[in-house]
């Protein structure tokens, strides 16, 4: 079981809710994925509107809503959006995204750290989206964040674990759960991240824009479970040379 900020999750797959062709397809995909935590872009939800598609499609009773600060260009904007998410009563969790450049949407480490410190102080459960920077991950952990969420590749690219070496270091050094976020394009990428020891993965584009998003959500569910099982089973190391089945130094012990 995965525990984040004292809350336990059976599923290690988190889902983003953007880019789906309809609220209904999103709803069915979430169900198929088995996910228990979904991101909600504060900018997309119209909390004052009872007809809002998103709020009508899924309920906070079924999923932990993780409001994100998508669109924030600096710490100040991110803090404001996080407060708005909480004021909506969505939740006091926040996926902290500070992305000053609107195309690749790469996270700004400096501003993220400033916002994280403030939001932790205000009692938020902060899950920061970061570049795969092990030092920044430690700073955010020290600031009181309840996970770190390094990117596998720029968001929406589906390129897989292009930052693998750095993510490995983050996993090795982290004392909070590591959620690999952004860039995961196929179930095998998700599996690979889980085999490496990531605590969870967050997927959106790969499911939302698949030909059959519901089926793809199921594929991710199974891949994440398989990857985790493999990690827990203790994966045999790969080696470049053959190993002699008859040890060479037994004579020393006789």
């Amino acid at each position: 079981m995965l525990t984040i900020a004292k809350r336990t999750f059976k599923s290690r797959l988190f889902l983003g809710t953007g880019k789906f062709s309809s609220a209904n397809v999103m709803k069915e995909s979430l169900q198929a994925s088995g996910s228990e935590m979904v991101t909600v872009a504060v900018r997309r939800v119209d909390i004052n509107n009872p007809q809002d598609d998103f709020l009508n499609a899924i309920s906070p009773k079924d999923y932990l809503f993780l409001p994100n600060t998508s669109g924030a260009r600096n710490a100040e904007e991110a803090i404001r959006i996080a407060r708005l998410g909480r004021a909506f009563g969505v939740s006091d969790w926040v996926k902290l995204e500070v992305t000053p450049e609107p195309n690749y949407l790469l996270p700004d480490g400096t501003e993220t750290l400033i916002a994280a410190r403030q939001l932790v102080k205000e009692g938020f459960k902060v899950l920061p989206y970061i570049n795969a920077d092990p030092i920044l991950a430690k700073h955010l952990e020290d600031a009181g964040c309840c996970t770190v969420m390094p990117l596998a590749a720029p968001i929406g690219t589906n390129k897989g674990l292009t930052t693998k070496d750095q993510i490995k270091i983050i996993i090795e050094q982290s004392t909070v759960p590591v959620v690999v976020d952004a860039g995961i394009g196929t179930p095998s990428h998700a599996s690979e991240a889980m085999e490496m020891g990531a605590d969870a993965v967050l997927v959106n584009t790969a499911i939302a824009v698949a030909q059959d998003p519901v089926k793809m959500a199921l594929a991710f569910k199974q891949a994440v479970m398989a990857g985790r099982l493999a990690f827990e089973s203790g994966i045999a190391n790969t080696v470049d040379t053959a190993q002699a089945s008859s040890p060479l130094t037994n004579f020393l012990r006789t």
Binding site: K19, F20, R43, R44, D46, G71, R80, E101, N103
Partner: protein, 369 residues
């Protein structure tokens, strides 16, 4: 170096000639690339590439779904005024046309705003002519303030302003700026813009930069296709965007390719733009600028819009009325004729039928305040 200086460094007429002589073999080679750069633009918009329009459209469709998912942002324009001091030969708001002018009162602004909100719109674009003595920055700022409790996103398409004036509008609750150069050919520009401040070509060209410096979140560029050869405009727009993107990297850019339709002064274009041209320019820009917002106007006919929606477009206006206060039954002079008058409900139904999700809210006033 400003964007104006930057654009002067290039010989766009030579680039245009280059585009006209591109060979099909070059197009085939270019389309094999996995990504595209500015140097590919003459090829992508070339007459030769129009023979490969299906390949262009397929690539454009794939990139758009990958980058934007299955979403289509809907917005509505609200004309605040048809007063204008410019003489522009193609525009119904031009000062040389004699009819009673109208600028909305506070009550009318709110009445129109409430009506549009009740239809489900959350993103609004406020438009004016250019009458800075009556429809000045204070009037526009006041209108923004009146509407900001109703709308998540407010944009303006108004006379060119200075950085400090844009900063004021942003403080009132405005997040995006739209300014079209109309035509990027300086001599041609003067033939259409006879008198008034709009005659100042370079002043207009520099305007997006003023907006970027002021801190707008989104800036939309465009050219009014039909004033001059669309390929020439496309080349300029590509270089203009590229400059802005590099220098003002926090701004989300968008583009629109409005085509000239009928006006009351019986203006007829010397440079007609065909349907295939619009498709080609949209696809070329999508291939080059994967994350660019692309808007498709209600100037276009419903059936054309239906077909083009999935090919690269990210933003659609709906139910547009181009006369001041037109939503509440006033009968003032409109700026141009729209051809797609379908309701937001019908547009949404059409989008759903092709697997696209109409999005009415993708911004929040909280970003500003």
């Amino acid at each position: 170096m400003t964007s104006v200086d930057y654009l002067k460094r290039f010989d766009f007429h030579a680039l245009y000639e280059q585009s006209l002589t591109v060979k099909p073999e070059t197009v085939i080679q270019t389309l094999k690339q996995s990504t595209f750069s500015l140097s590919d633009l003459p090829t992508l918009i070339s007459p030769a590439a129009s023979q490969f329009i299906e390949s262009l459209a397929q690539r454009s469709y794939q990139i758009t779904r990958q980058r934007f998912g299955n979403m289509m942002q809907l917005f509505v324009p609200l004309y605040l005024s048809n007063e204008c001091y410019n003489h522009c030969t193609y525009c119904n708001f031009s000062i040389h046309l004699d009819y009673p002018r109208k600028t909305l009162t506070d009550d009318e602004i709110i009445e129109n705003g409430k009506l549009l909100k009740s239809k489900g719109f959350n993103h609004i674009l406020l438009l004016t002519g250019e009458a800075p003595k009556t429809v000045d920055v204070n009037y526009i700022g006041h209108a923004i303030k009146l509407l900001s409790p109703l709308f998540s996103s407010i944009g303006v398409e108004i006379q060119p302003l200075k950085q400090s004036e844009y900063e004021y509008l942003i403080k009132q609750g405005c997040d995006s700026l739209t300014v079209y150069q109309e035509t990027y050919e300086p001599d041609i520009y003067k033939q259409y813009h006879l008198t008034g401040k709009k005659r100042l070509f370079e002043n207009r060209l520099y305007t997006p930069e003023e907006g970027a410096k002021a801190g707008f979140f989104k800036i939309n560029l465009g050219a009014l296709l039909g004033l001059y050869d669309w390929r020439f405009e496309a080349l300029n727009l590509g270089y203009h965007l590229s400059y802005l993107h590099k220098h003002y990297w926090k701004v989300k850019y968008g583009i629109s390719f409005p085509r000239i339709t009928e006006t009351i002064s019986s203006f007829s274009t010397l440079y007609p733009v065909k349907d295939i041209d619009i498709v080609q320019i949209i696809c070329a820009f999508r291939l080059l600028f994967n994350d660019l917002s692309i808007t498709l106007s209600t100037r276009e006919h419903p059936s054309f819009r239906n077909h083009v929606m999935p090919l690269g477009v990210t933003h659609l206006s709906a139910e547009s009325n181009t006369s001041p206060g037109g939503y509440c039954g006033t009968n003032e002079q409109d700026q141009f004729q729209i051809h797609d008058s379908r309701s937001v409900h019908d547009i949404s139904k059409q989008l759903h039928s092709i697997g696209l999700d109409p999005v009415v809210k993708d911004w929040d006033q909280a970003f500003i305040r």
